[in-house]
């Protein structure tokens, strides 16, 4: 639990980017707090990579601004960030070790950390092989190693599990969670919702360059909680439910009801009310939607 006000690591305001007719990023504003695992969700082409490209200094925005660590954009700030963007980018004719030496040189850090990061992604044995000879999964792992080099304050992962096998995906997720536990801020862009649900604390949902939603993962999942309930006497239950004003939706099913509570109303409120009406429940469950269902709903609502 943190009690002091959280530091903002990244502030984006009014960011805008067009590629001809395509509005890749549309007046996007957001803030990333220190120590959070911030997920950027969206279907392919929703502007995730473009946004990351802008804040990493490789794409020029048409309008808007951003600041890292409360400072204006500079190369010094980028040295405090470890990032992978889209695909692993290395010199194909150099070994993994030499490639990481170049990264260390640019960041102005010593080579001492190279061994640790290569061991973390299990590439130490292959450190002298040329990048060209790596499989896609190994290339992706080298990109992760490169991002981890020098213990950066912020990590940016754009589709980090792309091209990895199921074991690799699980390992990278585990790694992300471990890093997050050390208090390092992580910005994770993905179209794999499961990935975000499992790793992120905060999330922003983008579509066609616009922000659809921003909040904690729990906020998204709680957006519209469905409650499933049942009683031995369904008629009495139905009457009682219809009288309760804090229900926005009632759906009868074969032997139960699916209801949606109004905002701010808890299951305790509902249960207290039903007991006062003399209704005894035989079944009561909160049905949390998966992030995927919620995400699809968000997308369909706004388009």
């Amino acid at each position: 639990m943190q009690f002091k006000p959280l530091e903002k690591v990244l502030t984006i305001s009014g960011l805008d980017k067009r590629y001809g007719k395509i509005h890749a990023v549309n007046n996007l504003s957001l803030e990333v707090e220190q120590g959070s695992v911030f997920g950027i969700l969206g279907p392919n082409g929703s502007g995730k990579t473009t946004t990351l490209g802008i804040i990493l200094g490789v794409v020029n925005a048409n309008a808007g601004s951003f600041s890292w660590f409360h400072e204006s954009n500079s190369k010094q700030n980028r040295k405090r960030i470890g990032a992978i963007l889209e695909q692993p980018l290395f010199y194909p004719y150099l070994s993994a070790y030499r490639n990481l030496q170049i990264v260390a040189d640019i960041k102005g850090i010593s080579y001492d950390d190279i061994e640790r990061v290569l061991k973390t992604v299990e590439l130490w044995e292959r450190k002298d092989s040329k990048f060209r000879t790596y499989s896609y999964g190994m290339k992706q792992r080298l990109a992760i190693a490169s991002a981890l080099l020098g213990n950066p304050e912020v990590l940016i992962f754009d589709e980090p599990t792309n091209g990895l096998d199921p074991r690799g995906i699980a390992e990278i997720r585990e790694l992300i969670i471990q890093i997050a536990e050390q208090g390092i801020t992580i910005i994770l862009a993905s179209h794999l919702l499961d990935e975000v649900q499992k790793t992120c604390s905060h999330v922003v949902v983008l579509n066609k360059g616009q922000k659809l939603f921003e909040g904690t993962v729990n906020d998204v999942l709680n957006l519209s909680n469905t409650i499933e309930l049942s009683s031995n006497n369904l008629q009495i239950l139905e009457l009682a439910l219809k009288e309760f004003k804090n229900i926005t939706d009632i759906k009868p099913e074969k032997d139960r009801f699916l209801i949606t509570l109004a905002e701010g109303v808890t299951t305790t409120d509902l249960n207290t009310y039903l007991i006062s009406k003399g209704v005894v429940l035989s079944h009561l469950t909160m049905k949390k939607k998966s992030l995927e269902e919620q995400f699809l709903e968000l997308l369909s609502e706004k388009s």
Binding site: K75, A83, L89, F90, Y91, L94, R98, I106
Partner: protein, 273 residues
């Protein structure tokens, strides 16, 4: 700049295409340096008039004229200089091809750092090439000169400095094309098309503008070879050979170099990498 140069050198450490081109350039120069005097001797023997060829050899490779002559040959725009240009083009376009320029920037380079790194490599290549030509000049001079007094050996060495300025400017021009076009093949074509077009433009425009075309400006620093004997003028042969390097030519050449650096930086800054 030294830090950036070290990074650039690390990038090419095991880049085969780079070392192949460097070896090719060195080998071609070596063949010329060691082969041409022998070739002249061979032709001289076959021709039945060996004295004429021996005189030619003696005056062309003679200290101090050798410096102007060798610098002139090395800086010919359609000759071995092109190999160095190709090396620079490959160094720049490969970064765009492999998208490593993007990785460099994400890791903490500014766009200016990227450009400065390439400029550092250009300076190093120019120093390397000037040094090789210096060694070649010494070899040819010592094996063919009648006089090897200090004055003669080191006279006219300013032409080596002139060559250095020429080659730096030319390589900056190649770097600019590579940054503009990004693709290796297109940049090669653009360079060769320009090598052909400039003389045509030269032919069409007013003579007074001729020195101000970019490649002309670079080539003007060392316009002609020179020897002590061909100063003799006759009615049929009335031509002024270059006797010194003109300050104005150097200024125009460096002006173009500066312009291409600025244009390269503007392109890099305004483009998404």
């Amino acid at each position: 700049m030294i830090r950036l140069l070290k990074i650039e050198l690390k990038k090419v450490l095991s880049y085969k295409a780079f070392w192949f081109m460097i070896s090719f350039y060195s080998a071609l120069l070596a063949i010329m340096i060691f082969g041409i005097p022998g070739l002249i001797d061979y032709v001289a023997e076959k021709s039945g008039e060996p004295t004429r060829f021996r005189i030619f050899k003696a005056i062309v490779f003679n200290f101090p004229d050798i410096w102007q002559n060798i610098a002139f040959v090395a800086s010919l725009r359609y000759f071995i200089k092109i190999i160095l240009g190709i090396i620079v083009i490959i160094l720049v376009t490969s970064e765009f091809h492999f998208l490593t320029v993007r990785a460099n920037i994400i890791n903490g380079f500014s766009r200016g750092d990227f450009l400065s790194g390439k400029l550092a490599m250009i300076l190093l290549l120019a120093i390397f090439s000037t040094f090789i030509i210096f060694l070649s000049g010494l070899y040819l001079g010592f094996t063919n000169s009648a006089s090897v007094s200090i004055n003669h050996v080191f006279g006219k060495m300013q032409y080596l400095a002139g060559y250095f300025i020429e080659i730096v400017s030319y390589l900056i021009f190649c770097m600019f094309l590579a940054i503009l076009f990004k693709k290796t093949g297109i940049t090669f074509i653009a360079q060769f098309v320009y090598l052909i077009i400039e003389p045509i433009i030269d032919y069409k425009i007013n003579d007074s503008l001729t020195p101000y075309l970019p490649l002309n400006a670079m080539n003007r620093i060392i316009q002609t070879p020179n020897t002590s004997l061909i100063k003799v003028k006759t009615a049929e042969f009335n031509f002024d050979f270059q006797e010194f390097i003109a300050f104005q030519d150097v200024a125009v050449c460096l002006g173009y170099a500066g312009l291409f650096v600025i244009l390269s930086l503007l392109i890099l800054r305004h483009r998404d990498i």
